[in-house]
Assembly symmetry: C2
Homo-oligomer: 325 residues x 2
C-alpha cells in the first residue's frame, strides 16, 4: 500500500518514520510547503534512511505516477485550515488519513464542510478519516469498543492525565505553562491553550455507545503550580500556570452521559488513562502510564491506511474501523 506523508512537523515526521517501519505500507513521497524543507532529502529531515525521497512542495509531484496511494496528512488541528488540502487529495483519487483533530467528528463544528467532504469522497470512490491517539482512540474508539460488553451505558467517564514534562517543548508552551493565571485566561479568549478535539471525542464516544445526545459542552481551566516545577523545558514558579485541565461532556435531555477529563500539565500526578462505564456490567479500565502522544498517533495513522481503502467510500469515523490489522 503506497502512502504519501503531508506535513513534516513533529507529528508528520513521526508518521513518516512509522510508515518507513511498517511492513504494510510503502512511503512513496513527502510534502511540506515550508520553504526551509522543500527540496531537501527526506532522510535529512527525518534523521533516518528514507531512500532517495525528496520533500516536495506539491502533492502531485510527491505522488508522481503512483496509483492507489493513501495520503497521511498531519498539518493543522482545525478543519477549515485543511479543507483545501483534503479536497485536493480526494480530487487526485487519494484516500486520506489525517491527524486534523476536528476531522475526527467534523459534523459537530463544521457540518457543511463535513457534508462536502463526504460527498466528494463518495464521488471519487475514496475514504477520508480523522484519527490519532486523542481524539481518535483513547477517549472514544477504545471506550466505545469496551462498551460492546455492556448493555445500555448510563454514563461514561474517561480521565487522561499527561505529565507535560515528557512531551515536546512546543506542547509545554501551547498549554500555557509558565503564564500567569491572568495571561492564561486572556489566551483562552483567543482559544490558544486548549487541546483541540476533546468535545469531538465526547460526541464520538456518545455515538459509539449508542447514546442519543443532543448537547455537547467544553470547559478549560488552568492548573496552577503549587510549588516550583522543574524538569520541563523551562521551570515554572509556584502560582504560575503548569498546564490545562479540560472537560468535555455530552448530554441527553440535560443529563450528562459522557464526561471526558483531560489534564496536561508539568508535574501532573496520577498519569494514565482511565475509563469507567456505568452500566448493567460496569467496566473499569486503565492503561498504565497512559498512551504517549506522537508515536501512538503516528502508528494509528499508519495502521489505519490499509483499513480505509477496504472500507466503503465516504467520510468515516474511527468507530467504523475494525479491530485487526
Amino acid at each position: 500500500m503506497p502512502v504519501v506523508v503531508m506535513g513534516l512537523g513533529a507529528i508528520g515526521k513521526a508518521v513518516a518514520l512509522a510508515a518507513l517501519r511498517s511492513p504494510e505500507v510503502r512511503l512513496v513521497g513527502a510534502v511540506d510547503t515550508g520553504p526551509q524543507l522543500k527540496g531537501k532529502p527526506l532522510s535529512e529531515v527525518l534523521g533516518a534512511p528514507a531512500g532517495n525521497l525528496k520533500v516536495q512542495g506539491l502533492l502531485g509531484d510527491a505522488l508522481g505516477r503512483t496509483r492507489g496511494a493513501v495520503l497521511l496528512h498531519a498539518t493543522s488541528s482545525r478543519l477549515p485550515q485543511v479543507m483545501d488540502r483534503l479536497l485536493g487529495a480526494v480530487r487526485l483519487g487519494m484516500s486520506v488519513v489525517s491527524t486534523c483533530e476536528e476531522l475526527s467528528f467534523p459534523w459537530l463544528r463544521h457540518a457543511e464542510a463535513a457534508e462536502r467532504l463526504a460527498r466528494e469522497a463518495e464521488e471519487a470512490g475514496v475514504v477520508v478519516l480523522g484519527t490519532g491517539v486523542n481524539p481518535g482512540f483513547i477517549m472514544d474508539r477504545l471506550p466505545a469498543t469496551l462498551g460492546a460488553v455492556c448493555g445500555e451505558v448510563r454514563h461514561a467517564r474517561v480521565e487522561r492525565v499527561v505529565d507535560a514534562r515528557t512531551r515536546p517543548p512546543a506542547l509545554q508552551r501551547k498549554i500555557g505553562a509558565g503564564l500567569t493565571e491572568q495571561a492564561f485566561l486572556a489566551a483562552v479568549e483567543e482559544d490558544a491553550p486548549g487541546h483541540v478535539g476533546l468535545v469531538e471525542s465526547a460526541a464520538l464516544l456518545a455515538l459509539g455507545l449508542g447514546m442519543d445526545c443532543d448537547d455537547f459542552e467544553e470547559e478549560l481551566f488552568p492548573v496552577l503550580a503549587e510549588e516550583e516545577i522543574t524538569g520541563g523545558a523551562f521551570p515554572v514558579k509556584a502560582g504560575r500556570v503548569a498546564g490545562i485541565h479540560q472537560v468535555a461532556t455530552a448530554l441527553s435531555e440535560g443529563q450528562e452521559r459522557v464526561r471526558l477529563e483531560l489534564t496536561i500539565a508539568l508535574g501532573a500526578e496520577g498519569v494514565g488513562d482511565r475509563v469507567r462505564l456505568d452500566a448493567d456490567l460496569p467496566v473499569e479500565f486503565e492503561v498504565k502510564g497512559g498512551l504517549a502522544g506522537d508515536v501512538a498517533t503516528a502508528n494509528l495513522v499508519v495502521n489505519a491506511a490499509p483499513r480505509v481503502t477496504a472500507a466503503e467510500p465516504g467520510l468515516l469515523t474511527v468507530l467504523e474501523l475494525p479491530a485487526g490489522r
Copy 2:
C-alpha cells in the same frame, strides 16, 4: 432488527434477556430442543416478561414470517456439534451470531467446515460470526484494538484470572474443582475440564496484530488448593483441584509471539484481565476485576447483531467488527 435466540441454557437465557433490554434488537422467537422447555412461555423460562413468546422446537416455527432476522445461537462450544444448526439458519437466509467457542476462529481446528460455512454464507448473502467475552473479546479483539497504537508488536501477553466462586456451579464442576489431581489428569485425556477457545484466541490475536504465526499450542494444568476453599458451590479440600490454569501460545518460526494465560479456579488470587504488548510503544492495560462471563458474552452477542448485517456476506471474525454501535 429482529432476532431469534437458539439454546436456553445459562448463556442463551442471558442472551435472551440482553436482547429484551436492547433498544437495537427485537426478540421475535426462541428455540430449544430440550423436551422440558419446548412449548413453555419464554417469560416463565427467563423469569422475566417476554411478551407472548413460546419456546419452539424448530427454528422455522420460531421465525414465523419474519424476514431479515439474525439468529443468536448459544448451544455448544464445539463446531462439529453445531454445524447442522448453523447451516440450517444460513439456508433460511439468516445471519448468525454464535457463542460457539470454536467458531471464533474455525479455520484453526476445522478448516473444511470453515470453508463450507464461508461458502454457504456468501451464497446466501448472510454473515456468520462467533463471539463472546472469551474467546471473542478480552484476549483477542480488545488487545488487537490496543495494538493499533503500536508499530510491530514483538510479543503479546494476556493474563485472565477468574475466581470461579463468582461463576455458576456448572462451571465450577466443569473446571474439575473438587477432583483429585489424578482424576483431573484422567479427565484431561477426555478433554473435559479445559476452557474451549483459548488457542482460537491466540490465533485471532496473532492475526489481529499482523503477526505471521505458523504454530499454535495449548497446555492445561490443574490448580491445587493449598488449604480448604469455601464460598463456592461446594467446599474443596486442601490438595484437591481448585480449577484450571491453561496456556495457549502462537509461534512464528519457533519463536513465541502470543502467550495467553487463563486461570479459572475457586479462590483464585489476582482476579482481573491484564494485557502487555511489547512493541516500540509498549502498552500495559488492565480491566479491573475482569470482565464477568455470561452477561458480557450476552451483551457482545446482542450488540454484534446489527453490525453483522451491515457487513459483507461470509464467515467473519470479531477482528472485522467496528468499534461503535
